[in-house]
Amino acid sequence: MNEDIYVLGIETSCDETAASVVKNGTEIVSNVVASQIESHKRFGGVVPEIASRHHVEQITIVIEEALQQADLAPAELSAVAVTEGPGLVGALLVGVNAAKAFAFAHSLPLVGVHHIAGHIYANRLEQEMEFPLLSLVISGGHTELILMKEHGDFTVIGETRDDAAGEAYDKVARTLNLPYPGGPHIDRLAHESTEAVDFPRVWLEEGSYDFSFSGLKSSVLNYMHNMKQRGEAPVPEAVAAGFQNSVVEVVTAKTLRAAREFGVKQVIAAGGVAANKGLRTSLAETFEEEKIPFFIPPLPLCTDNAAMIAAAGTVMYEKGLTGDMTMNGRPGMPLSSWI
C-alpha cells in the first residue's frame, strides 16, 4: 500500500500570500489566501515593494493556518513546494526563503515550482489530466498556449508578443475610469451591453498561435480620444463589449485551431482572466460543439493560490525533482519540462 503524500504549497509571486496542503497531488486539504488587492487599489496596480512588505507580514500566519486547517504537523508532510518564479523578485524571495527555512527546520524535501506549471496543475485538483492536453494560461502576467504530451512536459506553442491579456484589460479599464482590477468590471459592462464598438482582431501571421493585445489596447485608446475630440461621449458598455469581443474571438479561435491541429484529448484554461465570464462561455460552447472535453477550475483556483503550487510540486516530488538551500527566486524563470 502506498502512503498518502501531503505537500505544503507556498505562493508569493505577486500580490497574494498563499499556503495550502494538497493530498496526493489531487485533493485540496487546506487552501489559504491572504489577498492584498485592497492595499494596491489606491495605486491603480500592484506596487512591488508594498507587495513584498505585505508578504513578510502575512507569511507565517498563512502557513500556520494552512497546517491548522489540514490538521497536520510539519513532520507529517512529505515535501514543501514553493513558487520559484516567474514573478516579482522581492515578492518571490519571501516565499522561497520561508519555504527553505521551513524545509530546513523539519528536514523536508524542497521543490521549486514554475508559477505557470502551477496554474496548469490547478486543473488536476478537479479532474485527472489526459494527454495530449492543451492549456490556455491567461492572466495579468501571461497569455500562453501550452501543449502537454505527458506530466511535466510543456511545449509553449503560442504566447503574447507584448501585453498579457489581463494587462490589456487593466489598461482599458483605466481609460474607462473603472476601479482596479479592471477585468471583472469590463466583463460586467460587456454583458450589460447590447451594442459593441467594432475593434480590430489581431491574428498576426497565418498559422501563428501567438497573441498581441497592445494594438487592440491602442485602438481602444484612440477611439476614446477621437470621441473626446469630437465632443461625443463614448458608451462605456459598448467600448467594453467591443474590446472583450475582440479578445474572446481571437483567443477562442486560436485555442480551437491548436486543439484540432494537435489532436488533444483535453483543453484546460487557467489564470485570472480564465475567470472572465465572456471567455469562459465562448470556450465552453466552442469545445462542446467540437466534442473535446474542456475544463476550467472554479474561480479560487483560477486566481493565484498555493494549492496549484502544491499540486504541481507533488508530481515534481514524485519525479525526484527536489532543490536545496541554494534555491533563489527567479523572476524570469522559463517554463521547462520536468523530463
Binding site: 530546513f104 523539519h106 538551500m325
Partner: protein
C-alpha cells in the same frame, strides 16, 4: 542554543551562541545575494557545530533598517524558523548591532548605512551602554550631522560604507569625529545575540521589519494628495 542572523545590509552575519559562549560565527562581506547564501550559510554553520534545528532554543534577528530586501530575507527566515520550531524570536535594531562595534567608546557612537542621494539610515548611541541618544531614522545625513554636532562630544562613526561620508563628517565635526577601524565596521551576529539579552521576545507572526522609511509609491501618493487638498 541561540541562532543569530543579520542580513540587513550587504554583509551577512550569523552565529550560534550557547550559555553565553560563541560556538561558531561567520561574517561575510562578499556582497552576494542573501536569498542565495543566507540559508546555505545557516545550514553549513549548524552542520559544522553539529547542531540540529531541534536543538535551537531562540532565534535573534536584525530587524532593520537597511536594504529592504535584505531585511526581509533575514526576517522571513527568522520568523519561519521561530514559528515552526515553536521557539522565541527576538529582534534588534540593525543600527544598534553596528553601534556595538563601538561599545565602550568614551563618547557617542553613530552607525551609518548609506541610503543614497545624501541620505542615510543612522542613529546616535551613548558609547558605554548603547543607550539611544537619537533613535533609528532615515535622514538627510548633513542635517543629521548638524544635530550630532550640538552635543559637542566625541563621536565614533562606524558602518560598512562609512567612507562615502567621511569628508562630510570631517567637515561637519572636525576633531570630534572618530572613525572605527576597518575590523569594527561590519555587523557581528555575536553582538546581535548579546544585545538581544536586553530585549523582550516578540510575537512571531507580528514581528515585521523596521524599514524606517515609507515606500516611494506611498510617498508619491501622499504628495499628490497634498497637492489636491491645497
Amino acid at each position: 542554543m541561540i541562532l543569530g542572523i543579520d542580513t540587513s545590509n550587504s554583509p551577512l552575519a550569523i552565529a550560534l551562541v550557547k550559555d553565553a559562549t560563541v560556538l561558531i560565527e561567520e561574517t561575510q562581506n562578499l556582497k552576494i545575494n542573501h536569498s542565495l547564501t543566507a540559508m546555505p550559510a545557516v545550514e553549513e554553520l549548524m552542520k559544522k557545530a553539529k547542531i540540529a534545528p531541534g536543538d535551537l532554543t531562540q532565534i535573534v534577528v536584525a530587524e532593520g533598517p537597511g536594504s529592504y530586501t535584505g531585511v526581509r530575507i533575514g526576517l522571513t527566515i527568522a520568523k519561519t524558523l521561530a514559528w515552526s520550531l515553536k521557539i522565541p524570536l527576538v529582534s534588534v535594531s540593525s543600527l544598534k548591532v553596528l553601534a556595538a562595534n563601538g561599545q565602550g567608546f568614551d563618547g557617542l557612537v553613530c552607525p551609518v548605512m548609506d541610503a543614497r542621494r545624501g541620505t542615510a539610515f543612522t542613529a546616535l548611541y551613548e558609547g558605554e551602554h548603547l543607550e539611544t541618544v537619537i533613535p533609528d531614522q532615515h535622514s538627510d545625513f548633513k542635517a543629521f550631522l548638524e544635530q550630532v554636532r550640538t552635543y559637542g562630544r566625541p563621536v565614533l562613526f562606524t558602518g560598512v560604507d562609512l567612507e562615502i561620508h567621511r569628508s562630510l563628517i570631517e567637515e561637519m565635526l572636525g576633531e570630534l569625529a572618530h572613525f572605527a577601524q576597518f575590523q569594527n565596521r561590519l555587523p557581528r551576529a555575536s553582538h546581535l545575540i548579546a544585545l538581544a539579552a536586553n530585549e523582550e521576545a516578540k510575537e512571531v507572526h507580528h514581528t515585521v521589519p523596521e524599514y524606517r522609511r515609507i515606500t516611494e509609491a506611498e510617498a508619491n501618493l501622499s504628495k499628490t494628495n497634498e497637492g489636491k487638498s491645497q
